[in-house]
């Protein structure tokens, strides 16, 4: 189908984009369009104004900023996936990005778009939460920074106001950490039924620090803090990791849908957590 008519704007700076979002009626941001276009084509949404942020240079690319990497909101998945800085300092991001959709969608879909979209089955939100990323947001009153833990508020709902733009995401460096993204789905280009993002720092044979995030185990991405605490100081052996992973579903409230009921998802969470942590530690 063809989308409903709209007014179309292509700002070239963040300030211009924010002014348009504030001043134009019923304005919607268009990033890579890989989630928005199907919604417009099916006329599930029909905004009066589209603000295309694809021509704003400052939203593109990855840069090194000391103890963090800064990923521009409009950086396409395919660029993030292949970026050497991301591979070295935030490998979990590269690995999770590579599992998104298919090559064509990864050429257009963007890092910031995936996070702003906040689909519970999206792969990047759990990674952002696990890695304590922070979100730089521009609005009519200037810029503010929101921690990943506070950014995701519900299904398709975030801390972004309607006149705000996600500009970039700061990901602390996890240089030398092992990482793995374990995604469970059944058919090609399918979203995660459940997925687990894990990063671990080893000290000799034991786990010194761990970060674990869960995809699609609730309306927002979830940090599996109980698992993290149970891993610290333990050897990275299948037995120790299995024990810790058994805590993965604690306090979660996954949905039941055609892909699986809530109990099945809870079971998946602990199985996938075990696999993800063992692979991240290189002992899987």
């Amino acid at each position: 189908m063809i989308p409903a008519a709209f007014e179309y704007f292509t700002p070239s700076t963040v300030d211009e984009a924010v002014a348009l979002l504030r001043d134009q009626p019923d304005a919607k941001v268009l990033a890579g369009g890989q989630s928005l276009m199907p919604v417009l084509r099916l006329r599930l949404a029909a905004p009066e104004t589209i603000v295309d942020i694809g021509r704003i240079g400052e939203l593109q690319g990855v840069r090194d900023d000391g103890d963090a990497l800064v990923i521009g909101a409009m950086t396409p998945h395919s660029t993030v996936q292949a970026d050497p800085l991301v591979g070295e300092h935030a490998r979990l991001v590269s690995l999770a990005t590579a599992t998104i959709a298919d090559p064509q969608v990864r050429h257009r879909g963007t890092f910031g778009g995936s996070l702003a979209h906040a689909d519970p089955a999206g792969d990047l939100p759990a990674v952002a939460v696990a890695l304590d990323a922070s979100f730089v947001i521009a609005g009519p009153d200037g810029r503010r920074t929101v921690a990943a833990a506070d950014f995701f508020e519900g299904v398709f709902s975030t801390a972004l106001a309607e006149d705000e733009l996600l500009v970039e995401v700061r990901v602390p460096k996890y240089t030398g950490w092992g990482a793995h993204y374990e995604k469970f789905n059944r058919v090609a280009q399918q979203w995660s039924i459940v997925a687990v993002a894990a990063a671990v720092r080893l000290d000799g044979d034991s786990i010194a620090e761990a970060r674990v995030g869960l995809t699609n185990m609730g309306s927002t991405p979830i940090r599996a803090s109980a698992v993290e605490a149970a891993l610290v100081g333990r050897p990275a052996t299948p037995e120790a990791v299995r024990e810790a992973a058994a805590l993965a579903a604690d306090g979660t409230s996954p949905v039941s849908d055609l892909n699986g009921d809530a109990d099945y998802r809870r079971h998946l969470a602990s199985v996938l957590t075990r696999r993800a942590v063992l692979s991240a530690a290189g002992t899987g």
């Binding site: 063809i2 989308p3 409903a4 008519a5 179309y8 276009m37 694809g54 395919s78 298919d102 257009r108």
Partner: protein, 156 residues
């Protein structure tokens, strides 16, 4: 209406389009390039795949205005001097099409895949074509064709 200038299959076009015109509809209905087809409303099937500045995209999932100032290659831009492109030839020789509906998209995505990975394994091909659905389920021969084209140096 918005005026756009796009290079398509080597020729430059300047046209007035409504912002809501999908790139695939611009190609088919304004330029008459009906080689690129539409198979779904959900960005899943990949039958509309073209190259935008050399990389594969689903042309149903961007607006024509987003291609303003850029370069598009469609299935119609591959054959030269009456000769099929080596990837088209490989699809022909390996019987990689049944009804042929998915074929333009399959070929455009196969070229993107081979540009990144000139010697793909069977698994590499299947993963690289993840975004292209064949409703006739003729995947065996599609994979065979892509590997044959790769072996023959068909990346160009």
């Amino acid at each position: 209406m918005t005026r756009i200038t796009v290079k398509v299959d080597g020729s430059s076009f300047t046209d007035e389009v409504e912002p809501r015109t999908l790139l695939v509809h611009y190609l088919r209905e304004q330029l008459g390039k009906t080689g690129t087809v539409v198979g779904c409303d959900t960005s899943n099937c990949g039958s509309c795949t073209v190259h935008l500045d050399g990389r594969s995209v689903k042309s149903c999932s961007l607006f024509a205005v987003q291609a303003d100032g850029h370069e598009v290659t469609t299935i119609e831009g591959l054959a030269a001097n009456g000769q099929l492109h080596p990837m088209q030839q490989a699809f022909h020789e390996n019987h990689a099409l049944q009804c042929g509906y998915c074929t333009p998209g399959m070929i455009m995505q196969s070229l993107d895949l081979i540009a990144d990975n000139p010697d793909p394994s069977e698994d590499d091909v299947r993963l690289g074509l993840e975004g292209n659905l064949c409703r006739c389920t003729g995947y065996q021969n599609i994979v065979k064709a892509v590997r044959a084209a790769a072996a023959a140096g068909g990346a160009q």
